[in-house]
Amino acid sequence: MLRDITLGQYYPADSVLHRLDPRTKLFGTMIYIVSLFLCNSWIAYGAAVAALAILIILSKVPVGFMFRGLKAILVLLLISVFFNLFFTSGEVVFRIWFITVTKEGIRTAVWMAVRLICLVTGASIMTLTTTPNSLTDGLEKSLGFLKVIKVPVHEIAMMMSIALRFIPILVEETDKIMKAQMARGADFEEGGLVAKAKAMIPLLIPLFVSAFRRATELATAMEARCYHGGEGRTKLKPLKYQTIDRVAYVLIFAFLVLMIIIKIKVK
């Protein structure tokens, strides 16, 4: 059962967005996030929401999945709505006891909420339609220019990809050790924080020992297969832009231009 856990939150489907090159999606997400921060009118927010709605429909990912990511930011969302709603000065709409709600307050609160929701959902669209592997590939390729300033882009991508491979294995191993310790009477549930932390020690030590052993063996195996860093490496499936990526780039730029025009023209 634990073998089947997927990392990230990839949702397999056959859609236009799934077929896009990861670099296109990374770039598009970045532009979308930038454009969210350009929004300062109802029309601009309307355009951002409309774009998001179109992407959600194109992605063929069930809407429920889409908004799952929002749970993580629910508290942040509520706090930001709360402060904007009650602590913005301006034209008073109504007043209960000492709380005043202003017209500007309502507007800022709604905008803020829409911005946060669009931001998280927009990023989710990318992770839902891109496998962690191709996301890693995409990052390595699009951030390649950082090598100039000595950022070890290839190494970071390799580490991410190895982590993706070994996390399920280590999770399964944790489960095994936990069961073995429980069979000998260990208790991971009872007691306060200190007792629980203490109970974790016999779990963590064997896990660490095994993780280090695995790392050493993997390093030897990689060396034996001629691994010597990113230099001169080729790829079985090199990333290649297709026609849909070109179309997507045009649309992304068109969207950015539209958002800039709205910002300048609409007050």
Binding site: R3, S161, R214, L218, R225, C226, H228, R233, K235, L236
Partner: protein, 284 residues
Amino acid sequence: MGLIDVKNLTFDYIIRDENDQIESSVRALDDINLEVNAGDFIAVLGRNGSGKSTFAKMLNAILLPTFGDVLVIGMNTKDESRMLDIRKNVGMVFQNPDNQIVANVVEEDIAFGPENLGVPSDEMRRRVDEVSSTVGMKEYLLKSPNNLSGGQKQRVAIAGVLAMKPKCIVLDEPTAMLDPIGRRDIIETVSKLNREEGITIIMITHYMEEAAAAKRVVVIDKNKVRADGTPREVFADYKTLRECGLDVPQVTELAGLLKNAGLPLRDGIITIEELISELKTRKS
């Protein structure tokens, strides 16, 4: 000159303290001489701690000799400029299937070696398809390695080595963590590679039955080579085997017991088939 020449090979593990000062050293290999010929199928036997894994790692420049030399197709493993060439020609498969698979998709793992060697993508595609059908893993190319059995993972590891087009494959106890079916699969795959593709095989094992499938058996004990010959010759020398902490294959032992009990069997029976045919000829 053989495919691999091992000359007066001695290796010490150096143990250092926190300040990088040499604390002590452990001798793991002591004056080993061995010539591996192209097309050989060698089984290396020896009890735990006898130096087998260390020996394997000397053959493709993962460890370098303290004294002596290892020559692979004439290239010295100490020559750093030839390192990739040596590793490409002498592939290694390790004991733990999980800890040698790098990628998250089977086909990408098989391609890992060629990727490091800078093989062009279309050539790489051809090799991946070819070697995956050689080891019988073609249907699994797009699967995650996490959902494979141990035997299947080892076959992926073998395919990953094959994709580099090596002359020789060194396998360090490849079946130790597998069930009987996985073990049989691996031995069959390895024998086929030797027979049909002419790839030189050096397989470390502690199963006598697996050693019987080889053309040549080398016994290592206490860091030295103690016996070297055909399986028949080596298994005939019970005394040396016992001294090295090894047993003869069960069927050889049975044949010996039957002979002692008065059945006139010939010497040097090492497989079940041989014993059966021998018993049949005695009956008629």
